[in-house]
């Protein structure tokens, strides 16, 4: 069985304060690209991604990936949050008083907030978000988007890459937009669309990419 590369040559750089939304059709390799950046793809040559020494990466996976047999407090303590900072951190993401809950006792949205708290707990230089607003009902998705926006505003130096299907997320959060298309996937970017928050323009672009692949 010959292995098809998922990702083609991608040359780009990410700077402090970059807010990148990564768009593209399903199955094109958006999550794979996040994994490559986070250093989780074993087959991928490690030297191909140059990370600044001591770079801290917070990764919000599609699933919460909290340890289901540990409470939120224990989950946060495991990534090095001091005991007295657990409650304030949870309060920041709207989960005050939930420290002793197990992840599966929370709703999907709450568990995702808890996972977001864990991302922020390590004071990341780069925040990776994989479809952070997917499978939430519209008001909750909106509330979480506002929360992420607020948290980002409070951390101007933190870089972010957010995988999404929704042009509105890109309009609200991004100052750069990456599109993945082609086979293997190649990267395009369009700074102009992002800086204007031009949701309609981003939607059009996304549609044209999807129709090309399908």
């Amino acid at each position: 069985m010959s292995r098809q590369p998922v990702l083609g040559d991608i040359a780009t750089r990410i700077a402090e304060g970059d807010r990148i939304c990564l768009l593209g059709p399903s199955g094109i390799g958006k999550t794979t690209l996040l994994n490559v950046i986070a250093g989780l793809e074993q087959q991928f040559p490690a030297a191909a991604v140059r990370r600044r020494a001591g770079l801290r990466i917070g990764y919000l996976f599609q699933e919460h990936r909290l340890l289901p047999w540990r409470t939120l407090r224990q989950n946060l303590r495991l990534v090095g949050v001091p005991a007295h900072e657990v409650e304030p951190l949870l309060a920041q993401v709207g989960l005050a008083g939930c420290a002793e809950h197990l992840p599966d006792q929370l709703s999907l949205g709450m568990a995702r907030r808890a996972a977001l708290a864990r991302c922020l707990a390590i004071q990341p230089d780069l925040l990776l978000l994989d479809e952070p607003f997917a499978s939430l009902d519209p008001p909750r998705a909106q509330a979480l988007q506002n929360l992420v926006g607020t948290l980002l505003d409070a951390r101007p130096h933190m870089a972010m890459i957010c995988v999404t299907h929704d042009a509105r997320d890109a309009g609200r959060l991004a100052n750069r937009i990456w599109y993945l298309n082609g086979q293997p996937a190649r990267l395009q970017w369009d700074e102009r669309l992002a800086s204007g928050g031009d949701v309609a323009g981003i939607t059009r672009k996304l549609r044209s990419l999807e129709s090309k692949v399908v």
Binding site: G39, F61, R65, L67, W69, L78, S107, I122
Partner: protein
């Protein structure tokens, strides 16, 4: 489906009753009545024999169980995580799985001598492959998504072991413990029968020489009772404690 609470109190008393009736009917020393067995049991307790031999057997069981679990778990995790190690060792594992316990015991007594180390080692060699196979299944089913999470958040080796792996391996370790104890009890008796001068197996051997069925039944009953106590007092509470997070309930869903 909920069954009636009295249902489990039928079969055992019935068996006891039938035993008593048949024993009274036959009136033979080869099938003593339940009462005679109890009297023998009490006599052995008063003489201090039962406690001594039961203690010796328990010590052998615990020692070989601890060694077999430790070695089997290490081997199982290693084989489950490293395909090359698995490919190398799997044929050997199959060989040892199918090696009759009796053969191991005899060979070790012949090679090492009729000593305690040979006895314990024979039990361990018999048990390690079973533990390894069970734990290997667990190690193969470790959730890769949590591995990635642990990688991203730079979990230490110890944190991975204690907080990521052990909870996932726990059901497999429990299965290995259950199956392990059941098997080890039995092998230890054979080991004692063949080459030791104390323990329940040795006592059974002595009783067999003179067809003392009352003693055989008395020691067996005492033995079964101890196994049950360990099941109820140690294994079940441990299992409940470790699976609490599963039953905590989905509050919001």
């Amino acid at each position: 489906m909920k069954t009636a609470p009295w249902a489990c109190w039928i079969a055992l008393p019935a068996a006891l009753l039938i035993w008593g009736l048949v024993a009274a009917l036959l009136d033979s020393a080869l099938l003593p009545s339940p009462l005679a067995v109890l009297q023998t049991l009490w006599g052995e307790v008063r003489a201090g024999e039962l406690q001594h031999h039961l203690g010796v057997t328990l010590r052998r069981v615990m020692l070989s169980f601890a060694l077999a679990m430790a070695l089997g778990t290490l081997l199982g995790v290693w084989m489950g995580r490293a395909p090359l190690v698995n490919a190398l060792l799997d044929p050997l594992l199959v060989l040892f799985l199918n090696l009759p316990a009796l053969v191991t015991i005899i060979l070790l007594y012949v090679w090492v001598g009729l000593v305690e180390a040979a006895a314990v080692l024979a039990v361990v060699i018999n048990k390690v492959p079973n533990v390894a196979v069970t734990v290997r299944e667990g190690a193969r089913s470790l959730d890769n998504r949590l591995e990635q999470m642990a990688e991203v958040y730079h979990f230490t080796r110890w944190q991975r072991l204690a907080h990521v792996w052990t909870p996932q391996l726990f059901p497999y370790l429990m299965a290995a413990t259950r199956g392990g104890l059941a098997l080890i009890w039995k092998i230890v008796l054979v080991v004692e029968l063949l080459g030791r001068s104390d323990g329940i197996g040795f006592q059974l051997h002595m009783a067999f020489q003179v067809f003392d069925v009352a003693s055989i039944l008395a020691y067996s009953l005492a033995f079964i009772a101890v196994v049950q106590v360990i099941e109820l007092a140690v294994l079940q509470p441990l299992e409940r404690r470790a699976s609490r997070w599963r039953t905590a309930g989905v509050r919001h869903a």
